[in-house]
Amino acid sequence: MERPVAAQPEPPHRVGPVERLTSTDHKNVGILYCVTAFGFFLVGGALAGLMRVELTEPARQVVSTQAYNTLFTIHGTVMIFLFVAPFGIGLANYLIPLQIGAPDMAFPRLNLTSYWFFAGAGLLILLSGVASASGGAAMGWTAYTPLSELRYSPGVGLDLWILGIVLVAISNVMGGVNILTTVFLMRAPGMTMWRLPIFTWNMVVTAILGLVAFPPAVAAFALLFIDRRLGGHAFDPLGGGDPALYQHLFWFLGHPEVYILILPFFGIITEVIPVFSRKPLFGYLGIVLATIAIGALSMGVWAHHMFTTGVVNNPFFSAMSLLIAVPTGVKFFAWTGTMWRGKIHFTVPMLFALAFLLNFLIGGVTGVMLASAPIDFHMNDSYFVVAHFHYTIMGGSVFAIFAGIYFWFPKMTGVMLRERLGRVVAALLFVGFNLTFWPQFVLGLRGFPRRYVSYPADIGFDTPNLVSTIGYAVLFAGVVVFLADVAVSLWRRVPAGDDPWDANSLEWVTTSPPPEHNFDALPQIRSERPAFDLRHPELAP
């Protein structure tokens, strides 16, 4: 058994700002993506805070109605397009070459370009909310026509928003091409597709979804722009256009996008649980096939957002949406099977992974309810839907992001995050999250619609709204402690070593942080756990 030569720690190399912003090294681009995306998380979270403060009591108190409409428009856009999705791409940039044993991504300059498209798009979208005297974008992140036609939304903010979203879409397509090329062509010898770490597998499916879903959305946004500024009538009923067509094109992006927002994070959870259960993944093949099935089915469910429009075949889209529960269930059982007869270490990444399981199950179960068209006749556009998708995107993806940060921060920086502070963060976020969003299920059942700046008193909306705002305060505290944890850990450095977790995949056999070319030598790859096989040659297949 040949031992790989551990990469020699390079002389300390401080990355200056110019190098940080221009280096095409995949690790640098990955960190840029993640840090920028996390910045957008803080912005989007602050916007959510303003909304929660406004909704604490029935009448309108804090912001104007126009401002409130801008708040939820920008909050949704930022969280979806500028935080969760790009964070996944950032991690993919950092991890995929390391996990497959490659020196870099296939197209390093395209990689940096896609980052700058994303950063520029982010700027445009933030500007779209504030920088226009004739009114910020205030049409909701879905920008339904005819409301988003010039006649009803004359502000230039909406045009900036369209440009921003189109840039995000282009950036996603560039990222997707890069990920697919890298995984298909640059795997190290022995790293077959059936030995790929699950995170990389999930990014492959995510990238394909992006390539299929974003181009039609760009077409929709281009047509919308033509309607607004060049006299088109694609979506304008007064000119013979069809508002329902816009919804089809939008949700043909919008629903695969939901899986773009979750698959990378399923990937994180699937990496974290085996490591801290000290076991191989339960049913590797099943989990990969489930991911592919989710990707395929997600292309056929878009019109479950349109059950109440009366223009789609509800039973077909009901059936497809219900079916997605099956491969998702396979994942749950695989995660549980992985913990079964393990030796579970309750590190901070594992705590976040467990919180993910608890939250996401509620998101999944309520998703099954919403997949039934008649039930959706009541729930559609209510806070029940708001609660449901926050249980998947926040309770799911964001908790997985925190698991991923605590898991890979040592690899990226060479230093550990504080374990004790991390536990406090996990507890605060878990309690705060459930306190914020559980009452919103109740609100939705009682009939509170989304996107209402205020509500009448005494019809059952007061108490859940108050509790929800208190929950936000707890979440806020959790994020503050997290930022303190990062600051303390970078200030008083506890070196991580190559592999602080006894982990499985290839990134853990090189130094933390890895040298520019990633590996001086690669171990022999016999399974999806090359780092484990190296530590336990007696158990290697």
Binding site: Y144, G283, T336, G337, I344, M369, A373
Partner: protein
């Protein structure tokens, strides 16, 4: 042996408890209004079916998670480098945990499709027709057979919106459209909403089963004063409905 006896005893005690639980579960509303129309009552029953199915599913999954976390936690006394059991799966089990959800999903789909057929059914001979026109930011309710119209007062805050009055126990046809952007007509107590899309007209039936005044609102974001686009539906006895129509017609003729 003793363990088996205890297990039987536990099972004997658990069975009635489980039945009692299922009984309450099946009559529970789980936070949902019970539906003040025939169609709403159908949707309410469907919601009960979905919720009651969700309870054991979530229970099993949570139970397995908590059991594994508790039972297979690494104990302080154990070697920190100890490995868990290194098995990689179990094909038979994988088939089972894929098969059972497929069966559940098929059942749920059948229930859902059956209810949708009933909810979508429109009568050939409704007792009342109300044309509902949504606009930024209000409603116009017209009773075309009776030549009566009710319109929103203009507002940017909560005021009592226009009121639609319907007779109890009779089928009302709602004919819904919009003359500007997309709105949605939602009466939470009826568990039903439908989008109002400019350039299209939709018709659906409701048959109120309870008298009372029900709060209604626009559910599809429609611009600045979306939150204030409320209305109400008052369901009354047919005789009272006829009187209301008569009064309104007289008032509108005089004006």
């Amino acid at each position: 042996m003793r363990r088996a006896v205890r297990a039987v005893r536990v099972r004997r005690r658990a069975a009635p408890a489980a039945l009692a639980f299922l009984g309450t579960a099946c009559s529970g509303s789980f936070g949902m209004p019970r539906g003040a129309t025939e169609q709403g009552a159908d949707i309410f029953r469907l919601w009960q079916i979905f919720f009651v199915t969700a309870i054991p599913v979530a229970g099993v999954v949570y139970g397995l998670i908590f059991w594994s976390v508790f039972r297979y936690r690494r104990r302080r006394s154990e070697d920190p480098d100890a490995l868990g059991s290194q098995f990689r799966g179990n094909h038979r089990l994988e088939v089972v945990y894929m098969g059972i959800p497929i069966l559940i999903v098929i059942g749920l789909f059948a229930a859902s499709a059956a209810v949708e057929v009933r909810v979508d059914r429109v009568s050939s001979d409704p007792a009342v027709v109300v044309n509902v026109e949504a606009y930024q930011w209000g409603w116009r309710f017209t009773y075309p057979g009776q030549g009566v119209t009710v319109v929103s007062p203009p507002s940017g805050e909560f005021v009592a919106g226009p009121q639609m009055v319907l007779p109890l126990g009779q089928t009302t046809r709602i004919v819904l459209t919009s003359n500007d952007v997309i709105h949605a007509f939602w009466v939470p107590d009826f568990l039903y909403k439908h989008d109002a899309i400019p350039g299209r007209t939709f018709a659906f039936d409701i048959a109120p089963t309870r008298t009372g005044t029900f709060y209604g609102e626009c559910a599809e974001f429609c611009g600045l004063n979306h939150a204030y686009m409320t209305f109400s539906v008052r369901v009354v006895q047919p005789a009272e409905f006829a009187m209301w129509l008569e009064q309104l017609r007289a008032g509108q003729a005089a004006a």
